[in-house]
């Protein structure tokens, strides 16, 4: 009897587990969110659109954290708001736990709200100043009829404790708390409905560095405790690094690279990612001394009028090094899987796959860029580059025999 039950259970596990890991919790297909630009006072007409998110296909597996990084205005916040259905989708599909939710409304949307939550960037703006923390936390319980009366009060106390706020916080107003504490309250609100998925929109960007670490640790701990899946948005790679399993890099509404976290730092394949990674400080003075920062020239082009072909071509250092191939201007690069689990949208990403070639290119690019802020060329001699620095490409310096550049 028990043996049968056990074997059945084992079978079920066996049949379920691969499926669970195969079917992502959240998946988007060519997701587009365009905001119309209207003109005219009485008779409004659309004269264009800001393409905040423009064809993003992304999957987030159960229990994992996907980091979403990019400069301000690249559409990452809109992406987060779109997947949890706070802004309307222009085109494409969103799948959540096997359901198509792109146009969910009414009952279905309300059920989704129970499973997907959001943590906001600005802890000063995201809490209703006229509501105590307690009534704010009780609200989702009431709306979704999860608990009432003393049971709801108990649940609110639990939430407050889970995020590390003092018990007395229940009866207090947001303005009585510091930024970090407010962010904890925001996290508690997101947890109130016991969601499966949380989009953290720059959840720590507005906080002091010391507080950032606390909040990130809290998020990581809550993930283990409640088996949460995160879409973690930040404009700062060093923040995302700690918490993400995989990282997607966005540029002007598109994902340009998607890769396991470690690999993205070690071997970025998109020139944009490479530039971002080069800006991350390394907590090692020896490496830091040799680190080459590539400063991208120019501003991010307007998402209302993005460049043709590859959107990054106007600022791309790799294209410059390769003598400006026309292909970048003419043809939109597809997001291709260049290495297992590592996808990149660049026609010339292969140039960066070989370590030697990459270092060469990067050294050259860093040398050409006027914004070189770290060590002068003379410091980087072939001898100074240890072989193990190979995988840390932010410690470039040409391989032996590399041409010193002017």
């Amino acid at each position: 009897m028990t043996a049968v039950a056990e074997s059945e259970a084992a079978e079920r596990r066996a049949s379920e587990e691969p499926r669970a890991s195969e079917e992502p919790l959240l998946r988007t297909e060519h997701l587009r969110v365009h905001f119309p630009i209207m003109r005219g006072l009485v008779f409004e007409r659309q004269v264009g659109a800001v393409r905040a998110v423009d064809g993003v296909s992304l999957d987030v597996r159960r229990g994992e954290t996907v980091g979403l990084v990019g400069e301000s205005g690249c559409g990452k916040s809109t992406m987060a708001r779109a997947v949890i259905r706070l802004v309307n989708v222009t085109d494409g599909e969103i799948w959540f736990d096997g359901q198509e939710i792109t146009a969910a409304r009414g009952e279905q949307l309300q059920r989704l709200r129970r499973r997907m939550q959001m943590i906001f960037q600005d802890p000063y703006a995201s809490l209703n100043p006229r509501m105590t923390i307690g009534s704010m936390l009780a609200e989702p319980l009431r709306v979704h009829r999860l608990a009432r009366g003393p049971e709801a009060a108990k649940r609110v106390r639990e939430l407050v404790e889970v995020v590390g706020l003092p018990r007395s916080a229940v009866n207090r107003y947001p303005h009585e708390f510091s930024g970090g504490q407010r962010q904890r309250a925001g996290i508690a609100r997101a947890l109130a409905v016991r969601p499966d998925f949380i989009a953290a929109d720059e959840a720590v960007s507005a906080l002091d560095v010391s507080i950032q670490a606390q909040i990130i640790n809290l998020l990581a701990q809550l993930q283990r405790e409640f088996n949460l899946t995160y879409l973690f948005i930040a404009h700062d790679l060093s923040v995302v690094r700690h918490i993400s399993d995989r990282i997607a890099v966005m540029y002007l509404g598109e994902v340009v690279e998607l890769s396991p976290s470690r690999e993205l730092y070690d071997r970025p394949l998109h020139p944009y990612t490479a530039a971002l990674v080069s800006a991350v400080p390394i907590p090692d003075p020896a490496v830091e001394l040799r680190r080459r920062r590539m400063i991208l020239v120019g501003d991010v082009p307007s998402p209302a009028n993005p460049p043709s072909g590859c959107r990054f071509h106007t600022r791309c250092w790799l294209r410059r090094e390769l003598d400006n191939p026309e292909r970048c201007v003419d043809e939109l690069p597809a997001l291709r899987e260049l290495q297992p689990g590592h996808r990149v949208a660049c026609h010339f990403a292969e140039e960066l796959t070989g370590t030697r070639r990459r270092d060469e290119l990067i050294t050259a690019a860093a040398g050409h860029s006027s914004g070189r802020t770290t060590a002068p060329d003379e410091v980087v001699t072939p001898e100074s580059v240890a072989p193990e620095a190979d995988d840390g490409f932010f410690a470039p310096g040409g391989p032996p025999g590399a041409e010193p550049h002017a």
Partner: protein, 296 residues
């Protein structure tokens, strides 16, 4: 040693301060709010205690004692009909405050509903309401009030309604504006993401945060209502009974004798000025106390 004890209050001892309480505290520190509040409290007391304060019946005239200058018998003198000016001003405060409060209450109620509809639902509702508001605002306020009174007939309630009509578009516009600004506020989006929608979103999350400017405007509108009521009275559109002690009517009854009996115009004039000043000071003090830009 005492510091340690003070630094660790138990949870029950900690008292939480809401934003309204906080705003009230600020107001108590603002000199203009205090002076304005004191003037208004004074007028309210006078209005409530009018029968005990006024030495004479305000409607009763004594033709034998008309045109008396201010003196110990009649503090503010008497008018053409021999009515005691002081008593008339004291009783007039009831009328003036009553009209002001009534008109602002009506105006705020209707204006807030319209503004909330426009600001919350947007779309064609917003377009219809706001265009109507624009049309109403394009008509000079006093002209509109005169039109309403001549349509509804004369009377205290009619005057209040006329002034309310003038105020409705202002309140509607203010509330709509604050609601629009709040629609994309993070905490409103957060409430939506938690599943709060419809009336609950408006009532629990948006209105409490949008109502501040409306309260300030309502206080300031009390001041203009006093002036408007006096103006309508002065133009002969006040209460139909000529014996009714209304400050504006008192002014218009006497301006022809201004050279002979300055006191007849002076005292009602002072009363109007003081009441307006009081509401304005109070409104300004409240604005400072409530204005979110001064917060954080």
């Amino acid at each position: 040693m005492t510091d340690v004890a003070v630094a660790q209050p138990t949870a029950s001892q900690e008292r939480s301060v809401g934003l309204w309480t906080d705003a009230f505290r600020r107001m108590r520190r603002s000199p203009s709010a205090i002076i304005g509040g004191a003037i208004i409290v004074f007028f309210v007391l006078v209005a409530l205690l009018a029968p005990f304060i006024a030495p004479y019946d305000p409607t009763r005239g004594d033709l034998g004692a008309s045109y008396l200058p201010p003196g110990p018998e009649h503090w503010f003198g008497t008018n053409v009909q021999g009515q005691d000016v002081f008593s008339r001003i004291v009783f007039g405060s009831r009328l003036t405050l009553g009209i002001a409060v009534m008109s602002v209450t009506i105006g705020v109620s209707i204006g807030a509903v319209l503004g909330a509809l426009a600001g919350f639902f947007r779309g064609w509702i917003d377009a219809v309401i706001m265009r109507s508001v624009d049309i109403m605002l394009s008509i000079p306020g006093l002209l509109l009030a005169i039109a309403v009174v001549s349509w509804l007939g004369r009377g205290v309630l009619q005057v209040a309604i006329a002034i309310a009509v003038v105020n409705v578009p202002i309140f509607a516009r203010i509330l709509r504006g604050s609601l629009l600004a709040l629609r994309d506020a993070d905490y409103v989006v957060a409430a939506r993401s938690v599943g709060v929608g419809g009336p609950s979103l408006l009532v629990r999350h948006m209105l409490p945060n949008a109502i501040g400017p409306l309260i300030v405007q309502a206080t300031l509108a009390l001041a203009t209502a006093v002036v408007d009521a006096a103006a309508l009275g002065f133009l002969g559109l006040g209460p139909p009974d000529p014996r009714t002690p209304e400050w504006g009517t008192m002014l218009s009854d006497t301006y022809r004798y201004l050279t002979d009996a300055v006191h007849l115009a002076f005292f009602p004039g002072i009363a109007i000025v003081l009441a307006v000043l009081g509401f304005n000071l109070l409104g300004d003090g409240m604005r400072e106390a409530i204005d979110p830009r001064l917060r954080r």
